[in-house]
């Protein structure tokens, strides 16, 4: 059953086309991973889906309602975990959750019970009466999530909820997301971390330049590029390698360099490994070589030609 959908959605900021005829369906009970490089239009898509930004063209259907998708009744079924931490530093963790519970019309003992439940869900019950100003980044992010859960939303939108946190908190959040899905919550999850999507998403949508360029399960997406082979080669000094010469070898599609690791993508069955190794040995030392199975990151790279975490690694 479709819980939310966008049909032919177009959004411009001035002359810049940010969403270019986006069609997207969210099915009840799924975790939909939304991937895209910076500037792909993910945040704008979320803003249109939450009613914050009006669309120029197209329709949005939320919970079966396309006439008034952002009515208060529909908003009550919607939860949003923002990319930025949007909790009140002057209130304790419990008070923050109570604030949002009150706005959703939850009252009295039920409100207190729900707040305690939400804090326990994200593992903050022992910090309930502390203020978030003294929390670690991961704890603040978990509180950010708890604030969006008290009203038990049918659709939860999570915009990069694990940015800049420690692995322990990330695991905690990913477990919580999976448990939410098990409880029947539909989740739209955007992230820069491919491995998160690979671990939790039932379906993946890849966006670039305001368009959805591919969608399907992780396995389906990986199958689309199985006509390619990927080889990772560790060398002693990658700066000495002439990428141009490698790219001229028959069958080679792409050569990328990260540190002293070269990643070479060739057409399946190209049989050019000997030639690649010969050229590399002429220019620098060969440390190791590994043939990899294609994964979601390779799909993304093939489709967009961009690394998802380019900006983050550069900063």
């Amino acid at each position: 059953m479709t819980i939310a959908s966008l049909q032919g959605v177009v959004k411009r900021y001035g002359t810049q086309l940010v969403l270019d005829g986006v069609d997207l369906d969210l099915h009840e009970g799924e975790i939909l991973g939304l991937l895209g490089p910076n500037g792909a239009g993910k945040t704008t898509l979320i803003q249109t889906l939450t009613g914050m930004t009006p669309v120029d063209r197209g329709t949005i259907n939320l919970f079966g309602d396309d006439r008034h998708p952002f009515s208060h009744a529909n908003r009550e079924k919607l939860g949003l975990v923002t990319q930025e931490i949007t909790v009140f530093d002057e209130l304790t963790a419990r008070e923050n959750v109570l604030f949002f519970a009150g706005v959703y019309g939850i009252k009295g003992e039920e409100k207190k019970r729900r707040a305690a439940e939400a804090l326990a869900f994200v593992g903050l019950e022992d910090r309930a009466d502390k203020r978030p100003a003294k929390f670690s980044g991961g704890m603040k992010r978990r509180l950010n999530i708890a604030c969006a859960l008290t009203h038990r939303p049918r659709l939860l939108i999570m915009d990069e909820p694990t940015v800049g946190i420690d692995p322990q908190s990330r695991n905690h959040i990913l477990e919580a997301v999976t448990r939410l899905r098990d409880r029947g919550t539909t989740i739209l999850y955007t992230t820069h971390y491919m491995e998160e999507v690979q671990a939790i998403a039932s379906r993946v949508v890849i966006m670039d330049q305001g368009q959805i360029i591919q969608e399907g399960t992780v396995d389906e997406l990986v199958r689309t590029i199985q006509h390619e082979e990927k080889v990772s080669i560790d060398v002693t000094d990658a700066s000495l390698v002439d990428r141009g010469r490698l790219e001229q070898i028959a069958g080679i599609k792409q050569v990328t360099v990260h540190g002293n690791k070269l990643t070479v993508i060739s057409a399946a069955g190209a049989g050019n490994l000997d030639r690649i190794i010969t050229i590399i040995k002429e220019q620098t030392g060969l440390v190791g070589i590994q043939a990899d199975k294609p994964n979601l990151e390779d799909v993304f790279l093939t489709l967009t030609g961009k690394q998802l975490r380019d900006k983050e690694e550069g900063s």
């Binding site: 009550e76 949003l80 949007t86 959703y104």
Partner: protein, 243 residues
């Protein structure tokens, strides 16, 4: 009226803002104590303690800065990264903004009344009309909040709006002649009397203390009228900015 549920939390947030407490309660208490010590028992021509008038003007003056509190909370909730979450909540955003304004005004009034209490219990100032003085503190706080929000909604940068509210506050204290005498001409006289919220509220309280109820109500009503005239402008600019 889901917005009502946020009011206790907004007030709680304001009461825990230690920087605001320091600036609008701590600093005035220190200044009041210092001036009380320096002025001692010197008497004014009116037969009251000279410090009485100074304390009254000082407490009123700090109300001019109450708009900064409202402006800052409104800005952080509705115009920064919190905006996205607040905008998805099932309540009326304009009403939420209005509730913050009311909370800020009430909070500022409470701080003013605390200063009055301190001046009376500790420094020996006897306020003749507590309710009238509080009413005028409230009017001054309302006008200051509205002016601050108009400034915030009118300019692009929040920093600029902050500087403008400071100019508004300090400017009217200067125009009231509290720092040094102002030139004697029609414009300055107007800005130092009926065109100055600080002079109006101070004048209303003094007139009531002197038994001139008509003049007291006139001055207070001018202040109330100013807030009624400015309110629609604030609403218009606010709705445009929040869109």
């Amino acid at each position: 009226m889901r917005v009502l549920s946020t009011v206790p939390w907004t007030l709680r947030r304001m009461s825990r803002d230690y920087l605001v407490l320091l600036l609008l309660l701590g600093v005035p208490i220190v200044l009041l104590s210092l001036f009380s010590y320096l002025m001692g028992n010197a008497m004014a021509e009116s037969g009251r303690l000279l410090f009485h008038d100074t304390a009254q003007q000082m407490i009123m003056s700090f109300q001019l800065f109450s708009g900064s509190v409202v402006m800052s909370y409104l800005y952080y909730d509705l115009f920064t990264e919190k905006r996205m979450r607040i905008f998805t909540l099932p309540f009326n955003k304009s009403l939420y903004a209005f509730s913050i304004m009311l909370c800020g005004t009430v909070y500022s009034l409470v701080l003013g009344v605390l200063l009055m209490t301190y001046a009376q219990l500790v420094l020996g100032v006897v306020w003749e009309h507590w309710v009238w003085m509080s009413y005028n503190l409230l009017l001054l706080s309302v006008v200051s909040s509205i002016v601050s929000l108009i400034l915030m909604f009118s300019v692009r940068s929040f920093k600029t709006a902050e500087r403008l509210t400071e100019i508004y506050g300090v400017g009217f204290i200067v125009l009231a002649g509290l720092f040094f005498p102002m030139p004697d001409n029609a414009v300055m006289n107007f800005l130092g009397s009926y065109g100055n919220p600080l002079t109006l509220s101070d004048g209303a309280v003094t007139a009531m203390a002197n038994g001139e109820a008509g003049e007291a109500w006139l001055q207070a009503n001018v202040l109330a009228a100013a807030s009624l005239v400015l309110f629609p402008l604030m609403l218009l600019l606010g709705r445009r900015k929040m869109r």
